[in-house]
Amino acid sequence: MSDILKRTGEAPRRYRIAGSGQVTPVGDHVEDLVSGYVLGALDPAEHDLIERHLRVCSRCDRRVAEERNVIALLPFAAAPATPTLDVKVALLARIAHSQRAAQEAALPVRAVRTLPPAVTLPASRPQATLPPVAASESMQPWLAALPASSRFGRAASYLAVPLLMALIATGAWGMQLRSQVAQQGSQVSTLQQTVANFGTNALSYTLTPTGDSQTQGVFQIGANRREGMLTVQTQGESIDQVFELAGVNSKGELVPMAQLDVKDGSGTTTFPINDLLSDYTQVKVQAKPVATGTDGETVLSGDLNGAISSENPAANSTAP
């Protein structure tokens, strides 16, 4: 049998007992199952059978690969549809959150790895590290001249100095580490607050491109109504650009709220909202020209529709 296998490259023929008692040869080629397999349309028993067969049969495995290549093209037949920018904003916030969480989780591991050797001293048994008293020939002459009790005291002081220095260093290092942890914890906390603030209770406005603008944007007002977030995505050649978000008050005046640097086609910024949003009827995003002191071109705009009430801003928690 092994000679045949070597000659033909065929799989060994094995058998299994099906539930009905019928014997099904696992080694038989399973070409009639391949199409159902690549389409994910087999019953569990058939699926199990072909998977086991594929482990030992290169011919059927090739067939599967060929048909998979065909099936892999089917997704492209779907009618084109564009998701809202909110998905990207939520995805990036989620990734940033997971990165911070991973960094936080990694901190204790790094702390263990970078512990100074002094911390590992067996402080509870310092005598174990003392030089043998009997080995007076290896002592410094001045130490050997001292009475035994004095020699022990001097040796102990020798040990105490590096130990004390180690403890001081450890203490300083510990303070530094605690400071780092506190700092990173604070960053994580800030990020978590941001994610929560711009989560389900935020107001989200998908801004409308003006004219031929290829820019997309979303303006969000955090759940606390004191922070805003602007996300802008650009296409075409002007993928690096500075944008300014401004509120339009009842007199039609533009009041700057935030500036955003877009790199490689997209950017997000958060900013405090100091003014009462109820004063604004609209927000506009302008592409800032290179020369300062002139008005930029408005590329996005959105109506606020009086969604924020000055009397009770927190009551408006549903996105329009």
Binding site: L39, P75, A79, L92
Partner: protein, 205 residues
């Protein structure tokens, strides 16, 4: 593949010029900007595909976010030797979307039970100039053209399995056809697709 650092990218170059394989390498190294570029490239394809399966924009958007988050988490597991990034991404999309459809099917509701005729009618016509992505648009036209060449019964069997997650046995029950007939239709349909698509030049990055 070695991951270029920021210095290698230089001022004249940027992430948007990197290949999918390079970008996923960078994402595996923790560069979320690289994943963002991949999202910009493929979010529409993934969303369109998910929407085609689940038929609900909100659910399709949830899936879109989940697919890319999973790609981010599993980026180090991706190997370009086993296929293209977009194929991998769409495979994740298919699995997740079909799971969702099957979950919904287990819950009794009428909106989920599209008739085969409806599915066929929903197959979009190939219209020129719809896609911004020229390559994707070209692939789409080719695949739709190949699907349109299939006999209706074969196309129906393939679509019920691929887009609705029905097993061959469930398709046979639904259509009132023998199981063997459904299997044959699938086999012949894929064979015909393979022959048709083999004649076209398609390249996915």
């Amino acid at each position: 593949m070695a991951m270029p650092d920021d210095g290698e990218l230089g001022a004249s170059s940027n992430l948007t010029e990197l290949s999918d394989a390079d970008l996923i390498d960078r994402a595996a190294g923790g560069d979320s900007r690289a994943l963002e570029i991949l999202y910009d490239r493929y979010s529409r394809v993934v969303f369109s595909f998910a929407l085609r399966i689940v038929g609900d924009r909100q659910l399709a958007e949830e899936l879109l976010q989940e697919v890319f988050f999973r790609a981010w988490q599993q980026s180090s597991a991706f190997s370009s030797s086993r296929g293209t990034f977009v194929t991998w991404l769409l495979s994740i999309t298919h699995n997740m979307a079909i799971d969702e459809v099957r979950k919904r099917r287990r819950r009794p509701q009428k909106a989920d039970s599209e008739e085969p005729e409806t599915i066929l009618a929903a197959m979009p016509d190939s219209g020129p100039g719809v896609e911004d992505e020229v390559v994707m648009g070209s692939v789409r036209e080719t695949v739709i053209g190949a699907m349109n060449q299939l006999p209706l019964a074969q196309r129906e069997a393939i679509e019920l399995a691929y887009y609705q997650g029905l097993t061959q046995r469930e398709i046979a029950d639904r259509l009132g056809e023998p199981l063997g007939t459904v299997k044959t239709r699938m086999r012949l349909g894929i064979q015909k697709l393979r022959e048709t698509l083999a004649g076209s030049e398609m390249e996915l990055t």
